[in-house]
Point group: C2
Chain length 225, copies 2
């Protein structure tokens, strides 16, 4: 990997640093609430970013992709990745275009992606990915076979310097914008509604698989969604 | 920019190409439905990806950032960017971990970001960004001042080869996963609920700004959210 720019330099939030936090609990809270992440890598000097399923085991992110996916052909060679997970919390509607904003929580992890191959660790990683969006489900589904574990493409990325292995580096930061509009006094009499429109991801009524045997109960852990 | 890999090569969807579409209408439909995008660039050989507000004017994406944001210090030098917008449509819950999936729509645009500086074009770009999430609002808000236009940091990225300027390149593709679980026959009797949990971004009751004059009407175009 290049040593020209360290992850610590990249991760230092330049814009509106007052919105930035680096503490572990805040990073984990945003990661755990995000259903998917966006993973960027560099392919022959060009950036590429794709959405990806993920999970977390302590201070390690587990990314789930395909071995033939373009993204991970680089990461398999231990090249740097940037993983970003974003939650939109509100549209912030001000009196002027300039002061329109969004409330959001976003985590950015700079590190290296390392392929997970040891069967027990692949099993633990798959479990983390499944439990990330549907906690409680792992105990109910069919356990992976040995062949499935060998064919499963998982990568891990350390979250923060303390989690990075020998020769690796990692930084993680979270940026949060919350609260209402910030219009200057001169704009407040402008005759337009101003405020926030809260936003969140919601889950609708479940749709049974066509081949589901009649009477199969809908599990409680999914009601929590 | 590097000529080692062309955007066309990067954009060719390698994994599950049956899910990929390249037609313009499908690309625009996903872009227009996504409230934000993730923009990746390369900074000294490392990737960086951040969430960003955006809009669309015909075959051009308009990205709204800050001139001091780390991301755009590269793009101002006409370096390559990758813009990805993703909509999560459902969790797909199968009988095995291997067959768990998500339904989603995702657009990936590979191109170059070009700074927009001409005041009329900055005005049009700002309008596109505001109207992207709240169509109808531009006509009601205070028009930007000349100073605001000069201070506004907008970049544009062509969507597809036909929109790329001289010396530029761009490709855009959309990938869609829809439908139900794909369990093999041998798994169908496994005693677990299987199917889809639809997901979507929803907007909650509006929260008025503290300084909103009493009686300011809530506009109809926001009810449509």
């Amino acid at each position: 990997m290049s040593q020209n720019t360290t992850p610590a330099e990249l991760a230092r939030v330049r814009r509106k640093p007052s919105r930035a936090r680096y503490d572990t609990a805040a990073v984990y809270a945003v990661l755990d609430a995000a259903p998917l992440c966006h993973v960027a890598t560099v392919r022959r000097d060009r950036p590429i970013v794709l959405p990806m399923a993920f999970g977390r085991i302590g201070d390690v992110l587990v990314l789930h992709g395909s071995p033939v996916a373009g993204l991970f052909r680089d990461a398999a060679a231990d090249s740097p990745v940037c993983v970003t997970a974003t939650l939109l919390d509100a549209l912030v509607l001000a009196r002027s275009a300039r002061n329109h904003s969004m409330n959001y929580r976003s985590v950015v992890v700079h590190g290296e992606a390392v392929r997970v191959t040891e069967p027990d660790r692949v099993m633990a990683g798959l479990r983390a990915v499944v439990e990330h969006v549907t906690p409680g489900r792992w105990a109910q589904i069919r356990e992976p076979t040995g062949t499935e574990l060998r064919e499963t493409a998982l990568w891990q990325v350390a979250i923060g310097a303390a989690a990075a292995g020998p020769g690796q580096s990692s930084t993680a930061s979270v940026k949060i914008r919350s609260g209402s509009t910030l219009d200057p006094d001169a704009d407040r009499a402008w005759p337009v509604w101003a405020g926030q429109i809260p936003a969140r991801l919601t889950f609708g009524p479940p749709v049974e698989a066509d081949d589901l045997p009649p009477g199969t109960p809908f599990p409680g852990y999914l009601r929590a969604l």
